[in-house]
């Protein structure tokens, strides 16, 4: 980056004072070299980012309005603009509608379940408990950092109908466990529980930070005013946790809307599409070579993510209370 060194060179080369570090260059020269310097630092990122992230976001939208297929990569002139056809087709595509329904259930049940569990664990860890705190924190967070693929393999093993650990434990209590992943009724709920199991550590860490940020004297004041534990939780803890909840809700929702690895490894979307997700359906269309149609599916998923995030903001925003 030679322009970086240019900074110390005065704008007039005849002056010959370049060796002496003392005086600053005139303001205008400073500003332009400043621009160059700024771009010098930002350029490698900007190029990579525009080409591989921002560009594709836009390209995806354009592709979704075309009938691009994998075969067209060799013959770009075979591509036609079809307007909103792909989007119209989506809403009469039974596979996609099933996938959208499954994703909706996964999000609507999974997000509150995950949040409730992580808040419970965080409250437990925050209630004056000092021993084993690191152990708990590390343990509960463990699944968050591990590969979903590996976890899915392990869970499939645990959930095997005859010799799996889960049914073995249920059998100990006299319950005859079903074939979890091969049953239309149980497959999706099983994946939801697994999602909560995997993600509760994330919410827990964030909620813990949020709980610790609530000033202790608020609780003392509430105790003096005679507020019981539950009232304190309902009228003090929960409102104070709103920004934290918003963050956990948005991040968890964004993750859940995209769920893909679990059904891919555990059920291949079955049985009878009962665990087919939107991301999985999109991946399948991509696999069939329907690039335009897959792009449209991906964009619908994107819009859903944005809308749900906005909904969470509206729901959990701090408006009047402070």
């Amino acid at each position: 980056m030679p322009e970086v060194r240019d900074r110390t060179v005065p704008s007039d080369p005849a002056a010959g004072s370049a060796v002496e570090p003392g005086p600053r260059p005139p303001a205008r020269a400073r500003r332009t070299t400043g621009w160059l310097t700024g771009w010098g630092f930002a350029l490698p990122f900007a190029v990579l980012f525009l080409v591989f992230t921002a560009g594709p976001v836009l390209a995806s939208l354009v592709m979704s309005l075309s009938d691009l297929r994998s075969a067209d990569l060799l013959d770009p002139f075979g591509v036609d603009v079809v307007g909103l056809d792909n989007y119209v087709r989506l809403f009469s595509d039974e596979k996609f509608l099933t996938a959208a329904g499954n994703t909706a259930v996964f999000v609507v049940v999974g997000v509150p379940l995950t949040m409730a569990l992580s808040l419970l664990v965080a409250l437990g860890l925050n209630s004056g408990l000092i021993r084993f705190r690191t152990l708990f924190r590390v343990g509960y967070y463990l699944p968050v950092v591990t590969s979903i693929v590996a976890i899915s393999v392990v869970w499939r093993f645990v959930l095997q109908p005859d010799t799996g650990l889960a049914n073995e434990i249920l059998g100990f209590f006299g319950v005859d466990g079903p074939n979890w992943l091969n049953n239309e009724t149980f497959a999706l709920p099983t994946l939801i529980v697994m999602g909560a199991w995997r993600n509760l550590g994330f919410g827990m860490v964030i909620f813990l930070a949020g709980l610790q940020a609530i000033p202790k004297d608020l609780y003392e004041a509430a105790t003096i005013d005679g507020a019981k534990r539950f009232a304190q939780f309902r009228y003090l803890t929960l409102p104070m946790l709103r920004p934290t909840m918003l963050f956990v809700a948005v991040i968890t929702t964004i993750g859940y809307v995209q769920f893909f690895e679990e059904p891919f490894v555990m059920t291949q979307g079955g049985p009878l599409d009962s665990t087919l997700s939107m991301a999985y359906a999109t991946y399948n269309q991509f696999g069939f070579g329907n690039y335009g149609y897959a792009s449209a599916m991906g964009y619908v998923l994107f819009v859903v993510v944005v809308l749900l995030s906005i909904a969470w903001f509206k729901l959990l925003r701090n408006d009047v209370d402070d």
């Binding site: 921002a54 392990v154 093993f157 860490v205 105790t223």
Partner: protein, 291 residues
């Protein structure tokens, strides 16, 4: 101030609360340990079972501790699958992706936080706008692009799209904003070049943020699935999760002896990194999430 308020609480009330607290605490411990067992249990089960011979894995009822511990399953990862290649691919992709993000994101983060340049607001706006874009949205154009560049089924094709990520720039910019301008101005007075200021002043101060970014990027890359699944079309470029997933859904789907050993190989490096560096995680999540 806190002192006076606590003193106004009547003593008997405090004592009664304390005895009730003790029972509550015991219940709490039981619940927390129970939960911990549910969360960690599958990992222990995976680890223990990976040392069982094939017959014992299928045993009904299952055994907890391996009766006849063996490394044969791990040996099979080498004999029947090409795990060393997948492992190397995963490591190369994760390390290069991490190094790239540390470098590009800290440099761009510095420019966005401290240097004036035309188009700065636009660039940051685009970064913010794409912060939450699901990876499935860019999958198709990215594949078309990669294939036009002739990079499908190459490690470069797996790395390039993730070399400069919005999250990293956001994190670094936020962190560098908190470095006092006076410090940089003083260095400029001494005629230090911006490159030197960045390298000798800014980067050393960014160490906590770099640690967080490095760990998070490494883990995300190591565990990344969708893009490698799409872009690695031949076995020679498979990463560990891709190899494991495809083995798990193929005709060998019930070979849990090999699958579990494979899962251990995928999970173990990450667990070690996480347990050694867990403090950075919490700090990282707290700084990025709650500002």
């Amino acid at each position: 101030m806190t002192d006076t308020t606590t003193r106004t609480v009547p003593r008997p009330a405090v004592a009664r609360l304390r005895s009730r607290d003790r029972i509550a605490k015991a219940v709490l411990y039981v619940l927390l340990f129970g939960g911990l067992l549910v969360v960690v249990g599958p990992f222990l089960w995976m680890l223990l079972s990976s040392f069982k011979p094939e017959g014992e894995i299928r045993a009904d009822p299952p055994t907890w501790w391996p009766n006849d511990p063996t490394f044969a399953n791990y040996g099979n990862l080498f004999d029947r699958l090409d795990f060393p290649t997948y492992f190397t691919n995963s490591a190369v992709v994760a390390v290069l992706t991490t190094v790239g993000n540390l470098l590009f994101c800290s440099a761009a983060g510095y420019a966005l936080a401290k240097l004036p340049f035309a188009g700065k607001k636009a660039l940051f706006g685009i970064v913010l706008g794409t912060l939450m874009v699901p990876s499935i949205v860019t999958m198709v154009p990215l594949f078309v692009l990669t294939s036009n560049l002739g990079l499908v089924n190459t490690l470069a094709g797996l790395i390039l799209p993730y070399l400069a990520q919005a999250f990293g720039v956001f994190l670094m910019r936020q962190f560098i904003l908190s470095i006092p301008d006076d410090l940089l101005e003083a260095a400029r007075m001494d005629a230090a070049s911006e490159l030197r200021i960045f390298w000798q002043i800014v980067l050393p101060l960014c160490r906590p943020a770099l640690a967080t970014l490095g760990i998070l990027t490494f883990l995300a890359s190591w565990n990344n699935f969708l893009w490698p699944l799409v872009a690695a079309t031949g076995e020679e470029t498979y990463t560990l999760p891709v190899a494991l997933a495809l083995y798990a859904i193929g005709q060998n789907r019930t070979e849990y002896d090999i699958l579990l050993a494979g899962a251990v190989v995928v999970v173990l490096p990450v667990l070690i990194v996480f347990i050694l560096l867990q403090r950075h995680f919490v700090r990282g999540i707290a700084t990025t999430g709650l500002k």
